[in-house]
């Protein structure tokens, strides 16, 4: 009797928990997806039509014009080129530079190894802060150049630690046999380590690429030349564009008697910023859980 009673109680509690879990999950899903979906549907809707309101689930007057128009806005095409180039170049050189350092430090036989690693760990926790950084870039003539996006981001301690942990797992015999064949460390790296570390380098490149694509503060702090601003940075002015100001800015691209409005151009620009990340997202996801755990728990 008593046992069956407790069984029933557990049943109702069970169902209650399942209900709460279901509701919470649905809420999280909708709350995360809807803001993106709302931007997407606005970006495909005709501008003046959108101003009438009432579009919440599906575009009412479908058009692709907003996307063409975004690239007609001053500084957007250059910003797009700047962002793409900084992402590609910045990622390649950062992964190579950090990777070579990590490769060197993953060898126990490396002289002064502890010294190099300590130097790397200290900079994870202490930094000079904004102003000394600003003075340094000024001294190095990096201000207002494309290189301010690349050079200060060559090395990342966090990524170096992940890479070191990976290289350490590679069996030493593999390297040893190559060295017996007369290969030096440079050849070992390019002919043996690089090919078997492809997943690692792909992960690091994705991390770094997403970071570069999203970065906007360096562009705000160290670059005043409007032709060198990154897309994320230009987005800020685009988002803050009021409807009346938009009419004057976008007025010059009203060629085919289509009126563009800030309400639909803003989401179109936002979608352009998010699409590259969504494209690499499945790949990112494949590895980042592992990366996050190594980074947070092992150091």
């Amino acid at each position: 009797m008593a046992s069956s009673k407790s069984h029933i109680r557990r049943g109702t509690e069970d169902r209650l928990i399942s209900l709460v879990v279901g509701v919470v999950m649905l809420l999280v899903f909708v709350a995360t997806i809807y803001p993106f979906w709302y931007s997407i549907l606005l970006s495909f809707n005709e501008g003046t039509d959108a101003l009438r309101g009432g579009i919440y689930f599906w575009p009412r007057k479908f058009t692709m014009d907003n996307y063409a128009a975004v690239f007609g806005i001053e500084y957007v095409p250059t910003a797009f080129v700047v962002s793409v180039s900084r992402t590609l170049l910045g990622t390649v050189v950062a992964v190579a530079f950090t990777g070579l350092f990590a490769f060197a430090c993953s060898h126990k036989r490396l002289m002064f190894r502890r010294f190099y690693i300590t130097a790397m760990i200290i900079i994870m926790y202490f930094s000079g802060g904004l102003i000394p950084q600003y003075m340094l870039y000024k001294e190095l003539k990096l201000m207002n150049t494309f290189w301010v996006y690349i050079i200060p981001n060559l090395f990342a301690s966090f990524n170096a630690i992940i890479m070191m942990n990976f290289f350490r797992e590679i069996p030493e015999s593999l390297e040893e046999s190559a060295r017996l064949d007369g290969a030096n460390d440079l050849r070992v790296f390019f002919q043996i380590i690089l090919p078997i570390s492809k997943p690692l380098f792909a992960t690091m490149a994705l991390y770094s690429g997403v970071w570069h694509w999203n970065a906007w503060t360096d562009s705000a702090f160290f670059v005043t030349d409007k032709n060198l601003k990154t897309l994320s940075n230009v987005m800020i002015t685009l988002i803050n564009q009021s409807e009346s100001a938009a009419q004057t800015v976008f007025g010059q691209i009203n060629q085919r008697e289509i009126t563009y409005t800030a309400m639909t151009l803003r989401p179109a620009a936002m979608v352009i910023c998010v699409v590259p990340i969504v494209i690499v997202y499945p790949f990112l996801q494949k590895y980042f859980v592992k990366g996050l755990l190594i980074g947070s728990l092992k150091d």
């Binding site: 709350a31 995360t32 931007s39 930094s127 003075m135 460390d185």
Partner: protein
Amino acid sequence: MSRLSMLSTGIKENTKLGRTRRALRRFYAQRYLQLFAILGFVYMVIFSYLPMFGIQIAFKSFKPAMGFFGMFTAPLAPENGFYHFNTFFRDPNFSTVMRNTLLLSLLKLTLSFPVPILFALVINEMRGSFCKRIVQTVSYLPHFISWVIVYGLIFNFFNTSNGVINSLLQMAGMEKIEFLTGREYYYTLAVVSDIWKEMGWWSIIFLAAISGIDQTQYESARVDGASRMRCIRSITLPNISGTIIIVLILSIGSLMAGGMGGSNFDQSYLMGNTVNYTRSVTLPYYIYEMGLTKFRFSYATAIGLFQSLISLFLVFTSNFVSQKLTGHSFF
């Protein structure tokens, strides 16, 4: 000279000259590795350690025109070098900046920190693995989107001319609300958007901890008739307490920057404006404002150092307290 004495001098040489020669030979043998390591080290010296020594301008009367190395030669500031610190404490904005930073950080700590734990527990209780995967995958997408875009999404929803919320309010015959410029809405917007952006991401770490729990514990508890709530309370939570403490210490350490998401600066810069300034200005933003818009370099650096010292104090205190109370510590 006999062979024996030659041999003994050879051994003597071996102890001094020989050792350096052997070290040099060893160094030469690994010259490529050394090259990579030294390149990285030189880079760190230039881009991290040199600026670190530049912090001394917090105690000096430094002018931007003095150049980078002027940071090391600038004269000492008045009041025994503490002029800029005292100026900050006398600054009419001091209480506003500190109140916003502390309140926002505490709000984020009390809300943004436990929410991912609860979310991880909820995901773990979910039965269907397909739905589970979908929701989880979707939930950490916002982490990879920049704050600029998140601000754009907020703008789409909360602006007064055609934002979703205000359109709905108008349809319901109510007054429009100035969410983005209204002072009273800033804290709510900042904390909620912080949770929205980082909840899924931080839940990963707790989920990983949960998945490491020995399943036999649950089985034997269920045999003893424990309910699902009881299992969460008595098995899941105690098992992930170590992870919770570590993440807590980490987030207390970055409290000034806005907790684990480190969002105070981005939010102040993007969501702040002249109307809500008294609520949106936080320490990281004030450093930027004083430094790069007002060009008060020594002053901005002094505030930055003040912020770093608070953070350092918080890390060590929370670490110490958690070690005493729970036995878990980070260092």
